[in-house]
C-alpha cells in the first residue's frame, strides 16, 4: 500500500511539473503546440504503471538505478544551451533505426515511422512547434553512443535499453517503454519458453544479452544460440526452419511477427529492458525538457495511441511506465 501511495504522490508532482513545462514551452515557441490543457485527467493507470517500481529486482543493479536515473521535468534550468542550439538550428536531429519494423523503419514511401518515430515527432512538435522539424539519422547499434558523444545527433530513440554501463557514457530520459525479452516461435509449435527449447537452435543478435540468457537457461540439454549481426536475419532463419525460436525484445519480436503471421510472441519475460531516450552526457536542460515532453505524451494519450497502433495487435494491451526521477 505504501508503494501505491508513493506512486500517487509522484504522479501529482509529475503532473504539476508537466503543466508548468508545457506552459513554458508554449510561451517559448509562441505556437501553442503544447498546452496545459493537454494534461489529461483521463489517464488510466494500469496495474503495471501504477506500481512505483515495476521491476525493482531487475532494473536496479549495484549502485545504479536505471529506472530512476533521469532528472525530473523542470522549467527552471539555468543553462539551456542544448535546447537553444536546437532551436537555433530549427530542426531536431534524432538517431533512429531504419529496419526495426513497428519501432523505427522506412515505409514504402521511404519515410521513417514506428513507435520510436512517433515519440521523436512529439518532441519536435513540442520543442520547435512542428512535428516534422526533425531530421532522422539512421544509426547502427554500435554507433549510437559515439554519435551522441560527438554531437552528430541530439537524441537517440532506438529501442535503447538503459543500463548502468551506458549511464556512464550518455544520459537517458525517464523510461518511456518497459520492454522485456521474450521468444518468437511458429504458431502451434508448442514452444512456450526457453526451457521447452532444449537442444533446439535459438537465434539472437550477436553481443546481445539474449545470448547470455540462452546459455544460462537451466534446460537440459541447453538450447543452442545461433548468432546473427542483424535481427531480421533471425526471421529468415526461422522461416527456413534453421532455428526454432528468436529471442530479443518483445517490441522487435512484435515487428517480426507482423512480417510473418505464422509466428507469435510467447513466454514470460526473460529479462526487463527499460527503454530510454539517450542524449549527450551533461545535457541536463535537454534531459529535463524531454522528460517533460515524455510525461505530457504519456499523459495526453499520445503514448497510448502510438502503442495501440503499433504494438497492441501483437503484444496486447499496454500502458506507459511510471516515471521515476533521480531528484
Amino acid at each position: 500500500m505504501r508503494v501505491r501511495g508513493d506512486a500517487r504522490a509522484r504522479r501529482l508532482i509529475l503532473m504539476a511539473a508537466v503543466a508548468g513545462l508545457a506552459m513554458a514551452t508554449a510561451a517559448a515557441c509562441g505556437s501553442g503546440a503544447v498546452t496545459s490543457a493537454a494534461v489529461p485527467a483521463t489517464v488510466t493507470p494500469t496495474p503495471f504503471a501504477a506500481t512505483a517500481s515495476p521491476m525493482p529486482a531487475a532494473t536496479s543493479s549495484g549502485s545504479c538505478n536505471v529506472d530512476g536515473s533521469s532528472v525530473s521535468p523542470s522549467t527552471t534550468v539555468v543553462n539551456q544551451s542544448d535546447i537553444n542550439k536546437i532551436k537555433a538550428r530549427g530542426k531536431l536531429i534524432v538517431g533512429v533505426a531504419a529496419d526495426q519494423y513497428l519501432t523505427g523503419y522506412l515505409n514504402s514511401a521511404e519515410q521513417e515511422e514506428g513507435f520510436d518515430i512517433d515519440l521523436a515527432h512529439a518532441i519536435a512538435k513540442s520543442l520547435l512547434g512542428n512535428a516534422n522539424a526533425v531530421q532522422f539519422v539512421v544509426v547502427s547499434t554500435d554507433q549510437r553512443i559515439p554519435d551522441l558523444q560527438n554531437h552528430s545527433v541530439d537524441l537517440v530513440i532506438d529501442t535503447m535499453t538503459i543500463n548502468c554501463e551506458r549511464l556512464t557514457e550518455v544520459d537517458f530520459s525517464a523510461v518511456y517503454y518497459n520492454a522485456s525479452q521474450r521468444l518468437l516461435v511458429e504458431k502451434g509449435s508448442g514452444y512456450t519458453s526457453l526451457a521447452t527449447l532444449g537442444g533446439k537452435n535459438v537465434c539472437a543478435q550477436t553481443g546481445s544479452t539474449s545470448i547470455q540468457l540462452i546459455q544460462q537457461t537451466t534446460a537440459n540439454p541447453k538450447p543452442r544460440a545461433i548468432e546473427v549481426t542483424d535481427i531480421s536475419d533471425c526471421l529468415v532463419l526461422l522461416e527456413e526452419n534453421q532455428v526454432s525460436a528468436i529471442s530479443t525484445d518483445d517490441t522487435i519480436l512484435a515487428g517480426l511477427a507482423v512480417q510473418d503471421p505464422n509466428l507469435q510472441v510467447v513466454g514470460p519475460s526473460l529479462s526487463p529492458e527499460p527503454y530510454g531516450i539517450a542524449m549527450p552526457l551533461g545535457a541536463t536542460d535537454l534531459e529535463a525538457y524531454v522528460n517533460g515532453v515524455l510525461a505530457q505524451y504519456e499523459a495526453d494519450g499520445g503514448w497510448a495511441a502510438s502503442y495501440n497502433h503499433w504494438f497492441a495487435p501483437s503484444l496486447g494491451a499496454g500502458s506507459p511506465p511510471l516515471a521515476q526521477y533521480s531528484d
Binding site: G95, Y105, N107, V138, Q143, T229, D230, V236, Q259
Partner: protein, 425 residues
C-alpha cells in the same frame, strides 16, 4: 670335338663380305628412313602445336570466357536486385527486365559451359553445384522483393542471405572453374608456341645421316654429287627451316595473344567487380552498418578491382580504355559518396545516390558498357592472334605437309641411289 672361338672380323674383312649393291641398298634404306623420320617428327610436332593452339582458342579460352561471363551475369543479377530494393517498394520494369535477362543468360552459359567440361570432374562438379544453387538464390531474391513491396525489413535480410549465397558459394565455385581455365589457357598459349627441341635433334641427326650417306655413295660410285641425295638433303633442311620459322612466328603471335588474354581477363574481372561493388554499396545501405562495416569495406575493395587496368588495352582500344577510366572516376566518387552518406545515417541521400535516376546507376551502366566493349575488342584480337598462330603451322595441314616433304625427300634419295644401283644390274 673341340670348339674354337672365331677370330673377330676386321673391317676390311666385313666389308669384303658385302658387295657394292648391298651396301648401296643399305645406304638407300638409311637415307629414306632418315628423311621420312624428320618429316614425320616435324609434321607431328607442328600439328601438335597447331592443335594445342586451336584447342586453347576454341576450348579452354572459350570456356574461361563463358564462366567469367556467368560470374558477371550472376553478380549483375544480384546488383540489380539490391538496387531495386533501394529504389522503392515497387520494382520497376527496367530492373525486372535486367534481372530476368541476367538469370536467363546465366542459365544458358551454365548449360554451354557444363557441356564443355564434360570430361573434367572438378569443373563439372563445381558447375553442377552452381546450377543447383540458382533456384535457391532466385527463391531468396523473390522473397526479398515480395517483402520489399510490403516495406518489410525482412526484405533486407533475404537479400543479405541471397548475396551471401552468391558471393560465398556460387561465385567462389565459378571462380574456381574460371581460375582452372585461366591457367589452362595461359598454359595452352605458351605450349602452342613452345619450340620442340626434338625437331632440332631429329633434324640434325637426319641431316648428318644424309650427309654421311652422300659421302659413302660418293666414295662407292666415284661421283661427287648424287642428285637424289641432294634433294633429300634439301627436304630435310626445308623441314628444319619451316619448323624454325613456324615456331618463331608462333612465338610472336603467342606473345600478342597472351597480352590480349590478359585484357580479356581484366575486363571480365572488372565488370564482375563493378557489379559486386554495386551490390555491396546497396547492402551497406540496407543493413545500416549493423555488419560492423563489412559491406562498406567489401564495396571499397570491389571498387579498387573494378578500376580499368591501363595495361589491358591494345592500341585499338586505347580510346575505349580512356572512356572507361573517365567513367570509373565518376562511378567511384558516386559510390563512395553513397557509402559515406549511409555511414552518416543519411538514408535519404544514400538512396538517391545509389539507386535514383540521378545517382550512381547511370554511371555504372556506362562503365559496364565501356568494359564490355574493351572485352569485345580484346576477344576479337585474341581470336585473330590465335588464328594467325595456327597459320604459322600451316593450319590443320601441318602433318600432311610434313609427311609430304618427308616422302618427297625419301623418294629423291631412293631415286638417286637407285640410279647407281642400276649400274650393277
Amino acid at each position: 670335338m673341340t670348339w674354337q672361338q672365331p677370330s673377330p672380323a676386321t673391317p676390311s674383312a666385313r666389308s669384303a663380305r658385302l658387295d657394292t649393291p648391298t651396301r648401296l641398298w643399305l645406304l638407300l634404306a638409311t637415307a629414306v628412313a632418315a628423311v621420312l623420320t624428320v618429316g614425320l617428327v616435324t609434321g607431328f610436332s607442328l600439328a601438335g602445336r597447331e592443335s594445342t593452339g586451336s584447342r586453347t582458342a576454341q576450348g579452354t579460352e572459350a570456356l574461361y570466357a563463358e564462366v567469367q561471363d556467368l560470374s558477371y551475369n550472376l553478380a549483375d543479377a544480384n546488383a540489380t536486385a539490391a538496387t531495386a530494393l533501394l529504389t522503392g517498394s515497387e520494382t520497376t520494369s527496367g530492373f525486372t527486365t535486367r534481372y530476368d535477362s541476367d538469370l536467363s543468360q546465366a542459365e544458358d552459359l551454365l548449360s554451354a559451359a557444363s557441356q564443355r567440361v564434360a570430361g573434367d570432374a572438378y569443373a563439372s562438379g563445381r558447375l553442377k553445384s552452381v546450377a543447383e544453387q540458382i533456384p535457391v538464390y532466385t527463391g531468396l531474391i523473390g522473397q526479398a522483393l515480395a517483402d520489399n513491396r510490403l516495406a518489410y525489413p525482412a526484405a533486407g535480410a533475404y537479400l543479405r542471405q541471397a548475396s551471401l549465397l552468391l558471393t560465398g558459394s556460387m561465385l567462389v565455385e565459378t571462380g574456381d572453374v574460371a581460375g582452372e581455365q585461366q591457367s589452362s589457357t595461359a598454359g595452352g598459349i605458351g605450349s602452342s608456341s613452345a619450340f620442340a627441341l626434338w625437331v632440332l635433334v631429329f633434324g640434325l641427326i637426319g641431316l648428318e645421316a644424309i650427309w654421311l650417306v652422300a659421302r659413302r655413295v660418293s666414295r662407292i660410285t666415284h661421283r661427287r654429287i648424287n642428285v637424289g641425295l641432294l634433294g633429300a638433303m634439301i627436304a630435310v633442311i626445308g623441314l628444319f627451316g619451316w619448323s624454325l620459322f613456324a615456331f618463331g612466328g608462333a612465338g610472336i603471335e603467342s606473345s600478342s595473344a597472351s597480352g590480349d588474354f590478359g585484357g580479356i581477363s581484366s575486363a571480365q574481372t572488372e565488370v564482375s567487380q563493378l557489379s559486386l561493388a554495386e551490390t555491396y554499396v546497396a547492402l551497406q545501405q540496407i543493413d545500416r552498418g549493423e555488419d560492423q562495416g563489412a559491406d562498406a569495406t567489401a564495396a571499397k575493395a570491389a571498387l579498387i578491382y573494378a578500376d580499368p587496368d591501363p595495361g589491358e588495352a591494345g592500341s585499338s582500344s586505347a580510346a575505349a580504355l580512356a572512356a572507361a577510366q573517365s567513367e570509373y572516376g565518376k562511378f567511384d566518387s558516386c559510390a563512395l559518396a553513397a557509402v559515406n552518406a549511409a555511414n552518416a545515417g543519411r538514408y535519404e541521400s544514400k538512396i538517391d545516390a545509389s539507386g535514383g535516376v540521378g545517382g550512381c546507376e547511370p554511371s555504372a551502366s556506362v562503365l559496364h558498357d565501356d568494359l564490355l566493349y574493351i572485352f569485345d575488342l580484346s576477344q576479337a584480337r585474341f581470336e585473330q592472334d590465335m588464328s594467325s598462330l595456327g597459320s604459322q603451322y600451316a593450319g590443320s595441314g601441318a602433318l600432311p605437309v610434313g609427311i609430304a616433304i618427308g616422302v618427297l625427300g625419301a623418294v629423291a634419295a631412293a631415286y638417286g641411289i637407285n640410279r647407281r644401283l642400276a649400274e650393277y644390274r
